[in-house]
Symmetry: C2
């Protein structure tokens, strides 16, 4: 059965996965400087890369792409603005060759035609988490589906009990404000087996696997 | 210089250090079952004890009593009820021989005469965190002062930048509601050197030492 997986999802000690004031200039809002410092330290983005540091954090992060056939992301991950899509040619944060290389399903109330950027096609779809997951599973063709964030989207899928695997990277910072991952999820550990490990970087990896 | 230290302070993934609905029946409110299960697993209370498990968690927890000459605690740690003190003979949670063995300063707006239980004397004092710390330091006579909780009290001392050492035990559970440790403390990591380690139990220990 194709699983729904969350990877490399950074959360602060106070549970925030993004800061306040997101914009197309700062994907993480006021949390951008601290988060980018941490992401650089642990090369969280995709794990092992040519020339990169090869440590525990990077090895763990590398699971990101294995056996993934599609991604689901929230509107804010693709473009952190609300309402109708501006006609300004925005194609996401990832330049001419986004790293996904699979169909990506962007959840939005403002459907529009798909766009292709490099080897990645972005589909703009509305619907419940379960409905969007069904579409992504069809596209993944037997492989797993990655749930790419942001926190509101991951929270909705966790609340609907659709997530099979959640990898959180706890960074030892207090953000104070932003969007929390855990709201409304009291007792969710009871649905999962949980493993934890702290890397020499100081980041703590938590692995929630559906029990 | 005598330091102010917090030890063995358990916090959930969503930042709660106690649950909702505290009472003299359940010190941690709705969080009581999960927290007590974790406290039993990691013997968090005072660390190494005769006949107890001797692992990483217990070794770390044992630092609790070293070079401590006084404790400060919030009213809710001594008795989780508000308003005037009921005349029912309540002497805290700890029976005839509380483990402290030092003067303990209970912060309250309702001052009263001290009581002695076993080798521990509880003083009931009002004042700002800095004022109460000064009294406790006098009593500690050159040794350090432990700040014993609960979360509201620790939060106030952190906000006033009076804490030299903070040991948090992150337990991988989502409590959903209660009293948060981190509120209003955005960026506090910048005042500290932070180390982390996950024990085989699954608890993650975070050590904040004043930079």
């Amino acid at each position: 059965m194709s699983k729904l997986r969350v990877h490399n999802f950074a959360v602060s000690l106070d549970g925030f996965a993004t800061g306040e004031g997101q914009s197309t200039k700062a994907a993480f809002g006021h949390a951008q400087p601290e988060f980018l410092t941490w992401f650089a330290r642990i090369q969280l983005w995709r794990g092992l890369e040519p020339g990169g540091k090869l440590g525990l954090d990077e090895a763990i992060a590398s699971a990101w792409g294995t056996n993934i056939g599609a991604e689901i992301m929230g509107r804010n991950k693709f473009r952190p603005t609300t309402g109708p899509w501006p006609a300004d040619g925005w194609q996401g944060w990832w330049g001419d060759e986004p790293p996904f290389g699979t169909p990506c399903f962007v959840m939005t109330h403002w459907e529009r035609e798909p766009i292709s950027v490099g080897g990645t096609t972005f589909h703009f779809v509305s619907g419940t988490p379960a409905e969007v997951l069904e579409r992504a599973r069809d596209a993944a063709d037997g492989q797993d589906v990655r749930l790419g964030g942001g926190p509101t989207t991951v929270n909705e899928f966790l609340a609907a009990d659709l997530v099979d695997y959640l990898h959180v990277v706890l960074v030892p910072i207090v953000l104070g404000r932003g969007v929390r991952l855990w709201d409304g999820l009291e007792g969710m550990q009871q649905r999962y087996t949980v493993e934890s490990v702290t890397a020499p970087s100081g980041a703590t990896h938590l692995f929630f696997t559906r029990a």
